[in-house]
């Protein structure tokens, strides 16, 4: 390349070219469709989880409580929305990439002129919005929306016995699944027991199952059980669930509990056993046992009165063994009872022992009797020997008593219990006849079923047939033999206000063949055991026992918990009431904070 004094002069032709520069503001630069400018937060999508705040490298995001959203958000949401300090923001867009609900995006807007310093800090909403540019779809997001696969028995294999169908995570998959958790804690509010979910999942992801179990026992003494049969409200509230599959919180709990030996369970040092208060608990179900556990680790040894010969209540007699076997339940119960709670088995309150006597001899009486009595659809001949209630049927299944299972079984109901009953019937039929024929008849349409979606899916996998939107009016009998049912069409189940008020179309009659009917339409409380006291107990409009914050009923020294109090009737809610009752007793009588 030869240097020459004249060569630069060629550049003079630049004068005749168009300039690089843009004459702003007359001329506008075209902003790229991926530009990272000011934030846009879509408030309807935002759940206030705070993941954007947590990932922000420069602490520019603050979650501010929005007064008008208070009390209006659903479970699993916070009334908080991100406020951004543009004095700090570095426009990296990590907040967008981590947002599990895709509520956040960055815009093409980048010009801000404000007179006051504080004007650069504001709650990002759709006020000052240009076009959305930096967005994160499922693939681009930093969140892992895909759940790790849980090994289960194939439908063909599992219907042959009552063997547990879910096999549990192996270690590497459990850790990978635990690593999906963003630790925003939306699940904690949704869990009836308010378990410290992010904490115990973090312990699992670090491989420390013992620590994880210790964290769980702070709030829940039924790990093996809840790890299997919990209704997992936490997963519904999971922030990842909004766009993908939630973290498998329930299976992770199960994994941790399964892999810690009972020897390595937390060791509570009970320093002093208190003589007072004397506590009697009626019913050794989830509520009663959870109360007993938290009382005994605090030095109050209760006496439990149980109707059956084994503890566990509905967990033992109402949950089919393919979901929760006795072995796992016994691990939980043995640990609970290892702290000294006394159980009087085969004692029916109201028959063997009077409630007045209990109230006289104990300082605190806790009723946790649950809903043991079956509710019946009282159509003609409903007391036929081939018509069962779900409670009786499941109790027989669980205690291994012989049931003459029909060849064509009809289950009435659309809840989780109906699924349990139908799937147990499928297994009994396979063991008896080698094939199955079970139908579930429900008032609700398929998409209205109150049962958990996964339960319905698994029932369908096991070849359970569904007859939605029908109502039984009477069984068809041939002599004394049950041969079928007559049903009518249901036009709607709920009224405009969402209340349960089924409307029937009596002209549309259809018959279905069956030789066995199991009614799974709900349960009620066997209040008769409370005798005279029953009339003194105040009830709520939903026919539940009214209790104060301390779980004391309108009768002094008489406390209640579990399904007879809860509107949400699942195991974990019962466990939560039992625990909270125990804590309230510790606070009231021992005047100190409870050990947990």
């Amino acid at each position: 390349m030869s240097a020459n004094l004249l060569r630069p002069i060629k550049s003079i032709e630049q004068i005749f070219r168009k300039p690089h520069t843009i004459r702003f503001p007359e001329e506008k630069k075209e902003i790229s469709p991926r530009y990272r400018g000011f934030h846009i937060t879509e408030w309807e999508k935002c759940i206030g989880c705070g993941n954007c705040r947590d990932i922000c490298p420069v602490n520019a995001i603050n979650m501010e409580v929005i007064p008008r959203l208070k009390g209006k958000v659903e479970i699993g949401e916070n009334p908080e929305r991100p406020a951004i300090d543009y004095g700090r923001c570095c426009f990296c867009g990590l907040c967008v990439d981590i947002c599990p609900t895709s509520a956040m995006s960055l815009s093409q807007d980048f010009i801000m002129v404000e007179p006051e310093l504080n004007d650069f800090y504001f709650i990002s909403d759709e006020k000052r919005i240009d076009k959305k540019s930096w967005v994160a779809n499922e693939e681009e997001s930093l969140v892992d929306f895909k759940r790790k696969k849980m090994p289960v028995l194939s439908p063909a294999k599992r219907v042959k016995s009552f063997e547990e169908m879910v096999l549990g995570f192996p270690e590497n998959i459990a850790i990978a699944e635990a690593n999906r958790c963003l630790e925003c804690g939306e699940c904690v509010d949704a869990c009836p027991a308010h378990m410290d979910i992010p904490e115990y999942i973090r312990a699992i992801s670090k491989g420390d199952n013992k620590e994880s179990v210790r964290i769980m026992y702070r709030t829940n003494p039924f790990l093996m059980t809840c790890g299997r049969i919990c209704t997992h409200n936490c997963e519904t509230a999971c922030a990842v669930e909004k766009r993908g599959e939630p973290v498998a919180i329930r299976w992770l709990k199960r994994y941790a509990a399964d892999n810690v030996d009972i020897k390595d369970y937390p060791d509570y040092k009970v320093e002093k056993i208190y003589k007072k208060p004397k506590v009697a608990i009626i019913g050794a179900g989830p509520a009663g046992l959870s109360a007993a556990f938290y009382l005994s680790i605090n030095g109050i040894i209760p006496t439990i009165y149980e109707r059956h010969s084994k503890a566990g209540g509905m967990l033992r007699y109402g949950v089919p063994p393919y979901r929760l076997s006795d072995k796992e339940l016994d691990k939980d119960i043995n640990y609970i009872l290892s702290y000294g709670a006394k159980i009087k088995y085969n004692t029916v309150v109201g028959e063997d022992i009077k409630i007045e006597w209990l109230l006289k001899h104990f300082d605190v009486v806790y009723i946790a009797i649950g809903l043991q009595a079956a509710r019946w659809l009282r159509f003609p001949n409903y007391r036929h020997k081939n018509i069962y209630s779900a409670v009786d049927f499941l109790e027989k299944v669980n205690t291994g008593k012989k049931i003459k299972i029909g060849k064509e079984v009809l289950v009435i109901g659309g809840g989780n219990v109906a699924m349990d009953v139908a799937r147990s019937a499928v297994r009994l039929q396979h063991m008896e006849y080698g094939k199955s024929n079970v139908k579930i008849l429900s008032l609700e349409a398929m998409d209205e079923l109150p049962a958990l979606e996964e339960e319905v899916e698994e029932a369908i996998e096991e070849k359970v047939k569904f007859i939605p939107r029908r109502s039984v009016i009477e069984p068809i009998l041939e002599g004394k033999k049950l041969i079928g049912v007559k049903t009518v069409k249901v036009t709607s189940v709920f009224d405009e206000k969402g209340r349960f008020a089924p409307k029937l179309d009596k002209s549309d009659v259809k018959e279905y063949k069956c030789d066995m009917i199991i009614q799974a339409i709900g349960q009620m409380c066997p209040f008769h055991c409370l005798e005279d006291i029953k009339d003194k107990i105040k009830m709520t409009p939903q026919r539940k026992v009214e209790v104060k914050d301390s779980y004391e009923t309108s009768v002094k020294h008489l406390y209640a918990g579990g399904d007879i109090v809860n509107t949400r009737m699942d195991a974990v809610s019962a466990i939560a009431t039992g625990r909270d009752f125990a804590f309230s007793i510790v606070k009231k009588y021992l005047k100190r904070e409870p050990v947990r």
Binding site: M1, S2, A3, N4, L5, R7, P8, K10, S11, Q14, H20, T21, I31, S32, P33, R34, Y35, R36, D54, I55, C56, P57, V58, C90, F91, C92, G93, L94, D97, I98, L106, S133, W134, E140, L142, D144, I175, N179, R180, C181, L182, E183, R202, S205
Partner: protein, 366 residues
């Protein structure tokens, strides 16, 4: 007989590349000694990294070198990938190579502007900064940011190539190639430029190796060493390019090595676009809040526009880096090489010599 004078140049001076200063001791016009004084831009990046989550540092590391930021992102991500022993998809490797080369071209363009400025050819900065903006436009399309791209993450890149991006890149490459004919007329073929740079600030091959010079500074002294060739990373083993060297080791050679390297970079960009494989653009094996990085230590080196650029990275298995040490290529250049070059130089050449080694103060101070 002249008296010795001390001159304080910088930290803010048009002839100084960024925020640092030099103390010049001169006798008349002849420089006796030069003391670089740095630390004006110390922002404790290395220390701050220890307090941030792995993912949060992605937004900070590009700030260690402003004109050529992507090298930091690459080193940081590559170090994590190597400690965690995770694969990066082929497409991500190619996209990273593309980003690194575009960044190198942008860095050289702003460098030529600086050269023009120090010689007094003030048209050059106008041109090169204007042309650099076309590359920044490409970055805006690809990464959403113009200067700090925050584009690479451990395991790949954050977004796939947008639609029609390849054509845009090729168009800009054609444009820059055309423009370089005009640059040759204006700067590199200018008699003034040649007179000012030839024979000024000579660094011999032996001295260059002894003083730890790397990159264009070393290559201009006749030693062929380029990390892209000798220790290929990203997708550099899949592309064909030459390592440019010059023999003289003077300021002219150092500038011309870079001038010719731009052509090689354009060649690499074209090949990368041509060979860009289909497939995944990231392999995300981690949760951004809970990196599962095992304990370990690694040194990652790459070829930046300034020279060999490296991260020494130590992980103790927690969710934050235990220690990150940045080996800025400019550090030996500014501390030792610059001192050597200015021995006996004339005072008006100081700024030019300083620019010829293309020092970047943020990576000296970290």
């Amino acid at each position: 007989m002249h008296r010795n004078f001390e001159y304080y140049i910088g930290p803010n001076h048009p002839g100084i590349a960024g925020n640092f200063s030099i103390k010049v001791e001169a006798n008349g016009d002849t420089v006796l000694n030069v003391e670089p004084e740095f630390g004006y831009l110390h922002r404790a990046f290395e220390k701050l990294m220890e307090d941030n989550l792995y993912i949060q540092n992605i937004a900070m590391v590009p700030r260690i070198c402003v004109p050529d930021p992507d090298i930091n992102e690459y080193c940081y991500c590559s170090a994590i990938e190597r400690i965690a022993k995770k694969e990066v998809p082929e497409r991500a490797r190619f996209i990273r190579t593309l980003v690194l080369e575009l960044s190198r071209i942008a860095a050289y363009l702003s460098y030529f502007g600086g050269i023009g400025g120090t010689i007094g050819l003030y048209t050059a900065p106008q041109w090169s900064v204007g042309d650099r903006d076309y590359i920044l436009d490409l970055f805006e399309d690809l990464t959403g940011g113009r200067v700090y791209h925050i584009y690479m993450v451990p395991g790949g890149v954050r977004r796939d190539l947008p639609e029609g991006f390849e054509e845009k890149v090729l168009k800009v490459m054609d444009y820059i190639e055309e423009r370089f004919k005009e640059y040759d007329d204006l700067i590199f073929g200018n008699k003034v430029f040649e007179k000012r740079t030839k024979g000024v600030g000579i660094l011999t091959k032996e001295k260059a190796i002894e003083l730890g010079a790397t990159g264009p500074v070393l290559r201009a002294s006749g030693y062929s060493y380029d990390v892209r060739k000798d220790n290929p990373y990203a997708a550099y083993n899949k592309v064909d390019f030459n390592v440019i060297t010059a023999e003289d080791g003077d300021t002219y050679s150092r500038i011309m090595v870079r001038r010719r390297e731009i052509e090689e970079s354009i060649k690499i960009v074209r090949q990368v676009i041509d060979k860009m494989p289909e497939g995944e653009y990231k392999n995300q094996w981690y949760n951004p809040f809970k990196f599962d990085i095992p304990e370990g230590r690694v040194y990652v080196k790459i070829e930046s526009s300034k020279g060999e650029y490296g991260y020494y990275f130590v992980s103790n298995g927690s969710d934050k880096p235990y220690r990150v040490n940045v080996r800025g290529a400019s550090f030996p250049h500014i501390v030792t090489v610059f001192k050597e070059l200015t021995k006996g130089a004339r005072i008006e050449d100081i700024a030019l010599i300083l620019f010829s080694i293309d020092a970047c103060p943020p990576e000296v101070d970290r």
